[in-house]
């Protein structure tokens, strides 16, 4: 498997897109411009980017409460994303879903999900559909370390293996579920240990290294496409901001030094250094990417800002496929 310069650029671009989108969202939240909950993905960009570069636009993903990064990585449109976070009618969900339910079925992004673990059986369903149609597509399920403690994940992982479905399970192990460290909620250190119980191949990768994630994903996706069944990728990663919102709350549940240690290994810095060294992208060229995406973000914020809120008549629309009358 050759790692092309274009792939590096692609990984970089998707990560920068996530980073800038998320930081903008954070600023908007601090300015009280985003209603509801906001779970930022900043720090974990390499995972979404690495996996999504290994997928085609036709493959599917399911996501979590921390879902913007996944949608951006899958090719999500900033305008419609920003509008959704601001609860505007031009948003992906017409303002009805918000951050936790952002989705783009045309891109195969089957939804962020507010219920921890609940996306994993849905990915199994998508994988089933792929196998049923023999279309060579793959479904990837993103989920956290904490999510591997919930029954739905277990059932999904086992069923995918029992039915040998084209599914890739991607665990974003950021060492915390909300404010509780991993060691309080499981007696293991590595999520890959769970794959054993399903007879599923697994690999542990540095989630701060987009190339490592990408390479693992390429292998897992190839296995799935070849009909050899599911795999588990555990990416060790870290979120820079709080569980939700931006600032840490009063409670210090993570030592500052720990946060700093992870930030030193920042995935975007890492890939930029690598590309600079390999002559793939100069710092100036990198800066141009940032600048271009920054402009896109600004445009998206403007688009969202100027978009209308949903019309009250929309309240009862889309409860059912052929709309029934209000009761």
């Amino acid at each position: 498997m050759e790692l092309t310069d274009d792939t590096l650029r692609d990984l970089h671009r998707r990560m920068v897109r996530i980073r800038l989108f998320e930081e903008a969202a954070g600023r908007l939240a601090e300015a009280n411009k985003l209603p509801g909950f906001l779970h930022l993905y900043v720090g974990e960009e390499a995972v979404a980017a690495g996996v999504c570069v290994a997928l085609t636009d036709e493959d599917q993903i399911t996501s979590t409460h921390r879902g913007h990064g996944h949608l951006v990585a899958k090719g999500g449109d900033f305008n419609r994303m920003m509008a959704e976070l601001m609860a505007k009618s031009t948003g992906y969900c017409k303002g009805k879903g918000g951050s936790m339910h952002i989705s783009d079925l045309e891109l195969g992004m089957l939804g962020a999900n507010g219920i921890v673990g609940a996306g994993t059986p849905i990915a199994v369903g998508a994988g089933f559909a792929n196998k049923y149609r023999d279309n060579g597509k793959v479904a990837a399920a993103f989920f956290g370390d904490g999510a591997t403690n919930i029954g739905a994940f277990h059932e999904a992982a086992n069923m995918a293996c029992a039915l040998k479905l084209p599914v890739v399970f991607v665990c974003e192990n950021n060492e915390y579920g909300e404010f509780t460290p991993r060691h309080k909620t499981m007696a293991i250190t590595d999520i890959v240990d769970r794959a054993v119980g399903y007879g599923m191949p697994s690999v542990m990768v540095d989630g701060m290294d987009a190339v490592a994630v990408y390479e693992a994903a390429v292998e897992a996706v190839a296995r799935a496409r070849a009909g050899a069944g599911p795999s588990l990728i555990e990416a060790k990663t870290y979120r820079y901001y709080n569980h939700h919102g931006v600032q840490n709350l009063g409670l210090k549940y993570r030592p500052d030094a720990e946060v700093e240690r992870w930030k030193e290994r920042d995935a975007i810095n890492g890939i930029q250094a690598r590309m600079a060294e390999a002559g793939v992208m100069t710092p100036d060229q990198a800066e141009a990417v940032w600048a271009e995406i920054r402009a896109d973000i600004d445009a998206a914020i403007k688009f969202a800002d100027e978009s209308p809120t949903p019309d009250p008549s929309m309240l009862l629309v889309d409860v059912y496929s052929q709309n029934v009358e209000a009761l």
Partner: protein, 337 residues
């Protein structure tokens, strides 16, 4: 709506279900079935019998004991455009999969701003009467009817079973089809051709003038027995079977109430908080000035389903209790000031 011509073939309820699935699967390659033991074994109630033989393991899938993943499989495959029929065996087990039903299947379309279609049918066996005790006998449809996004279907005859199941399969929204375990062997006329009974349209099973009885599922036949008894007493019951509880054909029910001026609602589910409460509440809202007596409600008492056949026989509403409930609506003076 009913098919009672002599030439029509008799089929048991279980086979009416089976035939609906079979004929639809022949028509539409997007339909598949998944559930525990539904393959070679045909499902614990026999409802899926022979389907794997005809359609193969690809389209009739034995799953692990994993109700959450079974429904999730259905949700994910439905979002991708397939038409899954997933089986939960006993209705009680839907509690194991409740998140996927209530928080996922029912809500995805709305949460996604309308982009998703969820043509998913969930099937399960409800009802008491087999001494199967508290965890294998429940009628939990009220839990589902309260959740926007779901449709809930409760056939009362083999004819309805086939036609309603066809509509469930063709429906673009998640439906829950409740088979009554005790009706599996009940036979009735079922046309061989594929036909659909629309969801949301009640059936007047027995026209009458004096009192309306709203009943569904297995309670329809009990209500018919009660009606025969009451006919001998000079009271003509109109029996309305909503067929689907969500959507509920309130118009037909209210029209009947306005005509007869007396109503009894019957279900096998626990009376408190059952769908009968919703129906009674709607009737008094919409037919207040027409009612000569309070809307009566017959349901199971407020306890888990007992194992003992002696206790279970008291527990389950029957024709005698329905008849008493109907008589009670006449036991009070007609409305006057």
């Amino acid at each position: 709506m009913t098919a009672t011509e002599v030439e029509v073939r008799q089929l048991p309820y279980v086979m009416a279900f089976n035939e609906a699935v079979r004929q639809c699967m022949r028509e539409d390659e997007n339909i598949f079935c998944a559930g525990e033991d539904i393959g070679a074994f045909g499902g614990v109630f026999g409802t899926f019998g022979g389907l794997q033989k005809e359609f193969g393991e690809r389209r009739v899938v034995d799953t692990p004991i994993s109700e959450q993943a079974i429904v999730g499989l259905g949700v994910g495959a439905a979002v991708m455009g397939l038409r899954p029929i997933v089986d939960l065996m006993f209705m009680d087990f839907m509690c194991v999969a409740m998140d996927q039903i209530v928080n996922q299947a029912a809500k995805l379309k709305y949460m996604f701003g309308g982009t998703a279609r969820i043509p998913l049918t969930i099937t399960c066996g409800g009802g008491a009467g087999l001494s199967a005790a508290a965890q294998h006998s429940q009628s939990l449809e009220a839990l589902l009817c309260h959740i926007p996004g779901l449709k809930v279907v409760v056939p009362s005859s083999p004819y309805d079973m086939k036609g309603l199941m066809v509509s469930c399969i063709r429906e673009d929204n998640p439906t829950v089809m409740v088979k009554h375990k005790r009706m599996l062997g009940v036979s009735g006329p079922v046309p061989e051709e594929l036909y659909a009974i629309p969801l949301g349209v009640a059936n007047i099973v027995r026209p009458g003038t004096d009192v309306t009885v709203v009943a569904y599922g297995r309670m329809v036949s009990e209500a018919m027995l009660a009606a025969e008894q009451l006919a001998e007493e000079g009271v003509e019951c109109e029996i309305v079977d909503p067929r689907t509880l969500q959507p509920l054909d309130s118009a037909t029910i209210v029209a009947s109430a306005r005509k007869t001026n007396r109503v009894v609602v019957v279900h096998e589910a626990v009376r408190f908080g059952g769908i009968g409460a919703e129906i009674a509440a709607q009737i008094q809202e919409e037919a207040f000035d027409y009612l000569d007596a309070p809307v009566g409600r017959i349901g199971a008492p407020f306890s888990p389903v007992p194992f003992s056949p002696v206790l279970e026989a008291i527990y389950i509403p029957n024709a005698a209790r329905i008849a008493d409930g109907i008589r009670a609506t006449f036991g009070r003076p007609a409305r006057s000031v």
